[in-house]
């Protein structure tokens, strides 16, 4: 029975649904690893989604769309970095402020500049010569739009940067013990600016993966809170890129399964009580919680501004 439900198309669906979370989650991982909690991800995603959508609408160029999303995201990241690193404002608050800002501004710009939903030609599905035609694997893995691949490629890349490069070492040190990093000549503020701006770029592209790849439309609050879930998934994955990805896939698979179950319920006369479908994500969340969250190496300086004695 499970194979009736957990079909190739469900897994493919889970992979697509995971895309915006993975982008946003990787970006947030960088920020949090360096000690900055950016709760404004959702707001940046919205602005990035709008920027990409509007650029594609006006120019027809997907490249411009992606660049607009990246630039917008980085600009918002810069704002967050300035407020939380330089002004040392409480990160929880500044993040919420940024979110509200992005939510309001993206909606306002959309109403002003576009108004009524217009479809854009977003990233098409990529046909990879041999792979796409593989029986099951083709549908699951090789039948997605370009940004899906980019998202999944960003996971090993992020892990590599964090663990294998000097930059990654600095990020981890700054997130664990900024005083020590500072004493060793690491510029704490600069590293945090970098990570938060990188996080912004990721969030921007996460938004674009919705507006110019997945749905190819924009509307107010397009993200419907996905940025916040991405932040939760970063905790969930204990700040490790592969774990964040695994958690995201778990989460999105449950979502995709739910869609499938609801769709097939009457069609196949499956005897699945609706409650099961509704409760599944929470049960999964709770179980994973108990397994995942103890003994985690949290960036101990998370949310703590750093200021040298004088």
């Amino acid at each position: 029975m499970l194979s009736d439900i957990l079909t190739a198309s469900v897994i493919a669906s889970a992979i697509r649904l995971a895309t915006p979370y993975i982008f946003a989650g990787m970006g947030e991982t960088f920020g949090q690893r360096s000690g900055v909690l950016n709760l404004g991800v959702d707001g940046i995603m919205l602005l990035g989604a709008f920027a990409a959508y509007y650029a594609v609408l006006e120019t027809g160029s997907l490249l411009f769309g992606v660049m607009a999303a990246l630039a917008t995201g980085m600009l918002m990241g810069l704002v967050m970095a300035f407020v939380s690193v330089t002004l040392q404002a409480e990160q929880g608050i500044s993040g919420i402020g940024l979110y509200l800002f992005g939510l309001g501004l993206s909606d306002m710009l959309y109403q002003r500049l576009v108004g009524t939903p217009v479809h854009v030609d977003g990233f098409p599905r990529v046909d990879i010569p041999v792979l796409t035609d593989l029986p099951v694997l083709g549908e699951i893995f090789f039948n997605h739009n370009f940004l899906v691949y980019v998202a999944f490629a960003s996971v090993p890349l992020s892990a590599f940067v964090l663990t294998r490069t000097t930059f990654g070492l600095k990020i981890r040190a700054v997130g664990q013990n900024p005083e020590a990093a500072d004493a060793m000549g690491v510029n704490v503020a600069r590293i945090r600016y970098f990570t938060v701006i990188i996080g912004g770029a990721f969030s921007g592209i996460a938004g674009a993966s919705l507006s110019i790849a997945l749905v190819n439309f924009f509307q107010g609050n397009l993200t419907a809170g996905k940025g916040f879930i991405a932040v939760a998934l970063v905790y969930f994955g204990a700040w490790r890129p592969y774990w964040v990805m695994a958690g995201t896939l778990l989460f999105s698979t449950v979502d995709a399964l739910q869609l499938q179950i609801k769709t097939l319920e009457n069609a196949l006369n499956l005897d699945i009580p609706n409650e099961l479908a509704v409760m599944a994500p929470y049960v999964v969340t709770l179980v994973a919680l108990i397994f995942a969250s103890k003994g985690v190496e949290k960036p101990t300086a998370l949310t703590k501004p750093f200021e040298r004695g004088e």
Binding site: V10, F217, Q219
Partner: protein, 314 residues
């Protein structure tokens, strides 16, 4: 400010709506109606204010109360979620006229109008058409939450599809949200993966599903509801059921100006032309099929064809 409308004062209406006025769906249907009425009565005689995007009910409650205090002639709460709020506020302002929908309950107050849309009727027509146009024999429906006019539309659509073809498969998916566009898109993907070649859906998040329909290599058709959704996807939209709240609004305004502040319950139907089926002119439909639709509509108006299936009306 005074409540008694002078003859030369404009008629003032205030409306709270759950989504944007250009959502090509529920809120836009009311906004278009207000513009229509304004055109009809002239800008000097009709003024309206609105607050859109107010899905949070207690924000709406605040707005409604403010407007009541300001002495608006008619205060409309456009969304079934506002009912309880209207009931509470209407007691406090017996001289102000309120209207809300979609529902039929005026709470027994004589200053409350209720309005609803028999969206199952248009849903039935759309479903019938979909059953004729499908090649795979599978239809996909994306709903928000299983209540209100969305549920009526979905149920009517299913009934109409089965009426058109007993062996048809209709997969229905309520995604549990009015706003999650990405989930609506993925629901559409799921339908397509399960062989659906005709899709429909209700509420503002369906743009995601439309986007998916557009991006398919094989043609996937779309049926709209609430507003004319042709502009969303000119190649795919066959027809839309369109709400014309102006039918209700004009009547209420007349009653209020004559001193009746409420107590009436309205329904948009095919019969009173509050509901119309608008075809996409770009999309070619057989003359024969159009004739069938006309007689279907006549049958529904005459009450010969039930637009909900037995078990649904339980």
């Amino acid at each position: 400010s005074t409540h008694t409308a002078q003859a030369d004062d404009p008629f003032r209406v205030a409306v709270v709506m759950p989504s944007a006025t250009n959502d090509l769906a529920f809120s836009q249907s009311m906004y278009d109606a207000l513009l229509f009425v304004q055109e009809e009565m002239g800008e000097d005689n009709f003024e309206f204010v609105f607050q859109d995007g107010t899905f949070v009910v207690d924000d709406a409650a605040v707005a409604l109360r403010e407007w009541a205090l300001e002495g608006y002639d008619l205060i409309i709460a456009h969304g079934s979620q506002y009912g309880a709020v209207v009931e509470e506020i209407a007691i406090d302002f017996p001289d102000t006229s309120f209207a809300w929908g979609t529902d039929s309950d005026t709470f027994g107050f004589d200053n409350v109008f209720a309005y609803e849309a028999a969206s199952d009727q248009g849903g039935f027509v759309n479903g019938y058409l979909a059953a004729q146009l499908t090649e795979s024999g599978v239809l996909g429906v994306i709903g928000p939450i299983e209540t209100g006019d969305a549920k009526l539309y979905v149920d009517g659509f299913v009934a109409g599809a089965v009426y058109g073809d007993e062996d048809i498969t209709v997969n229905v998916n309520y995604i549990g949200s009015f706003s999650d566009v990405a989930l609506a898109a993925e629901a559409a993907e799921t339908h397509v993966a399960n062989d659906a070649d005709v899709l429909t859906g209700s509420a503002q998040m369906v743009v995601g599903a439309v986007g998916v329909a557009i991006d398919q290599d094989e043609q996937v058709l779309w049926f709209g509801t609430q507003a004319n959704q042709t502009s969303l996807a000119p190649e795919l939209v066959v027809a839309s059921q369109v709400y014309h709240w102006e039918v209700v609004l004009m009547d209420m305004i007349e009653l209020i100006q004559d001193g009746t502040l409420g107590g009436e319950s309205y329904s948009l139907t095919l019969e009173n032309e509050g509901l119309t089926i608008e075809f996409n002119e770009e999309f070619e439909v057989d003359e024969e099929l159009l004739d069938e639709v006309d007689s279907l509509i006549e049958g529904i108006i005459a009450g010969d064809i039930p637009t909900l299936m037995e078990e649904d009306s339980e």
